[in-house]
């Protein structure tokens, strides 16, 4: 089960750590199971009311200069980010 979650979350869990992590998770989830007892049928429809969604006028602004786009990575070439090959391509 932990392996499935790790895959979904793109985390690499070494085999030796999986058992300990699973145990921690299980303890927490078990402790949190009490939440199911809470009678929430009377819960109002919405949590803290958010302000109505304000919409931005459709005006195009200056984009980031290329230098800044790649400022925090060295994995770029020919104005593109480079990643190792995607498998199902």
């Amino acid at each position: 089960m932990v392996q499935n979650l790790a895959d979904l979350a793109r985390l690499h869990l070494p085999v030796e750590r999986q058992a300990a992590l699973l145990l921690r998770l299980q303890r927490i989830v078990l402790a949190f199971d009490t939440l199911r007892q809470l009678p929430t049928e009377q819960a109002p429809a919405n949590p803290p009311a958010l302000p109505p969604l304000g919409l931005r006028p459709d005006v195009a602004e200056q984009a980031l200069p290329l230098a800044q786009v790649f400022a925090n990575t060295r994995h770029h070439a020919a104005a593109a980010f480079v990643v190792p090959r995607v498998v199902d391509a």
Partner: protein, 478 residues
């Protein structure tokens, strides 16, 4: 042998024609050098938040209205979580349980229609290019606004799917929502197809088809898949629920290796975006901005202007064409005449110039002037065309063009009088008819004068000279 009913549903993604992206102010135009249309929001940098675009919402509502959908007063953005290098945040902001529109339908052109399940707004992902160096990521397209249009599985033939897409494209182009160009990627389509054995009550296993890059390709791929599935079922096999990529060169679909049968996207409402509340006034404004849809306009051209179906079809290919045509008619020009000229002269010339109709060198009013001259027989069809071509390249009125081309009306009495006299002598029966009160016979005399001077005589002068000459004749007596 069992016969099958083909069942097809489509998922169409359409890029909305906005200036900036859905959640960032970077320019939306996806062309240009890679990664030159990127904002920190599009990069998914730590700390950024989405800023929703008003025009994208407006165009999405217009899309729904144009397709007869029920626009929801409240809808929510949701996060679709998955990992891919073209997805900067590791989730796509889309809509899940509360989309902006439910229902609707796309006409298939023959009275039938394909019902829609829903329409929702979402952001586009970036583009990947696979090379030997690795995979290159361009985020220009990441964040461009899309609407996703999901149909009910109402289509029964690949040809119907093609017709549906053509109709959808026409409606959305007409509405100014998108240019719906599959080659440029502003419209993309995935298809789901299954075969239902006759007599069955449930649909068969559906297969998803991807990599369909043109309307024709959609049809070809569906035809192939229809045959493939029929062959499998005929041989007693089972259809696997899978995604297959269409390979147009090879003319076949191929199974795409996918790890999970149904990926777990863990959708939840995006906490960074309050619910989208659409006031009735706003929706009404979009409906007004939408204006007349192609089908309604075609019907109006047939009934109000009496235009044949073919004309109506051509004039409603584009909202701009119809508007232009109506501007000419508004000048008092006969609808069929205007239509003929738009179809055979204006549109071909405009296509040559590749500029939009709004920038066409001859404005509707100028063409109307020309057509009035034609109608008044000051010009012949041939000379009118010459004048038109001249007006394309030169400023000035039709009259100026006529002068430049040496087609100016002769209006002086000294030149015209002999021609008038000659006409009266040449057509005594017509002259007598006019004197007897048959006004229409004057046309024959006029025509005679016009022919004699190759259409260049001023009709008004000819008219008055003829009447004067006939008056003299009348007084002279039989």
């Amino acid at each position: 042998m069992t016969t099958f009913t083909t069942v097809i549903g489509l998922e169409v993604h359409v890029q909305l024609a906005t200036a900036s992206k859905l959640f960032s102010p970077a320019p939306a135009a996806a062309l240009g050098e890679p990664n030159t249309r990127v904002h920190p929001i599009d990069l998914g940098l730590p700390g950024v938040l989405p800023r929703p675009n008003a025009a994208a919402v407006a165009l999405a509502v217009r899309t729904a209205l144009a397709l007869g959908g029920n626009v929801q007063a409240v809808s929510r953005f949701a996060r679709k979580n998955y990992f891919y290098p073209d997805l900067p945040k590791g989730y796509q902001i889309s809509q899940y349980e509360e989309p902006v529109s439910l229902g609707g339908a796309v006409p298939l052109g023959d009275g039938r229609q394909c019902r829609l399940h829903r329409i929702h707004i979402e952001e586009d992902a970036g583009k990947l290019t696979h090379t030997d160096l690795g995979t290159l990521v361009d985020l220009n397209r990441a964040g461009v606004p899309l609407v996703e249009i999901v149909t009910e599985p109402d289509l029964r033939t690949p040809a119907d799917a093609h017709a549906m897409l053509e109709s959808l494209r026409e409606i959305l182009r007409f509405s100014g929502v998108s240019d719906c160009d599959m080659e440029l990627g502003s419209m993309r389509c995935d298809a789901n197809i299954s075969l239902m054995p006759q007599g069955a009550t449930t649909f068969g296993t559906k297969v998803e088809l991807k990599n369909l890059n043109s309307l024709k390709m959609v049809q070809r791929a569906l035809e192939y898949e229809e045959r493939r599935q029929a062959a499998v079922l005929a041989a007693g096999g089972r259809i696997l629920p899978e995604t297959r990529g269409w390979n147009d060169e090879a003319g076949e679909s191929r199974s795409q290796r996918s790890k999970e049968s149904a990926p777990d996207y863990r959708y939840f409402p995006d906490p960074d975006l309050p619910p989208l509340v659409l006031e009735p006034a706003f929706v009404e404004a979009q409906r007004r901005a939408l204006g007349e849809l192609p089908a309604a306009r075609r019907e109006r051209y047939r009934s109000r202007y009496g235009l044949p179906a073919y004309d109506a079809e051509v004039l409603t290919r584009d909202r701009a064409i119809g508007d232009w045509f109506e501007a000419v008619v508004a000048q008092g020009i006969d609808a069929k005449t205007a239509s003929n000229w738009v179809m055979s002269d204006v549109l071909p010339s405009q296509r040559e110039r590749t500029a939009p109709l709004a920038e066409f060198p001859v404005a509707p009013a100028r063409l109307a002037e020309l057509l009035r001259l034609l109608d008044g027989k000051v010009l012949t069809q041939v000379s009118a065309r010459a004048v038109f071509r001249h007006m394309l390249d030169h400023e000035g009125s039709a009259a100026d063009a006529m002068a430049a081309l040496g087609l100016v009306r002769i209006a002086d009495d000294s030149t015209l009088q002999p021609l008038v006299d000659a006409a009266v002598i040449a057509l005594p029966a017509a002259a007598a008819a006019v004197l007897a009160g048959k006004e229409r016979a004057l046309d024959a005399l006029k025509g005679h004068v016009m022919r004699a001077c190759r259409g260049r005589a001023d009709p008004a002068v000819v008219d008055s000279l003829l009447r004067a000459r006939l008056e003299v004749l009348r007084r002279q007596g039989p």
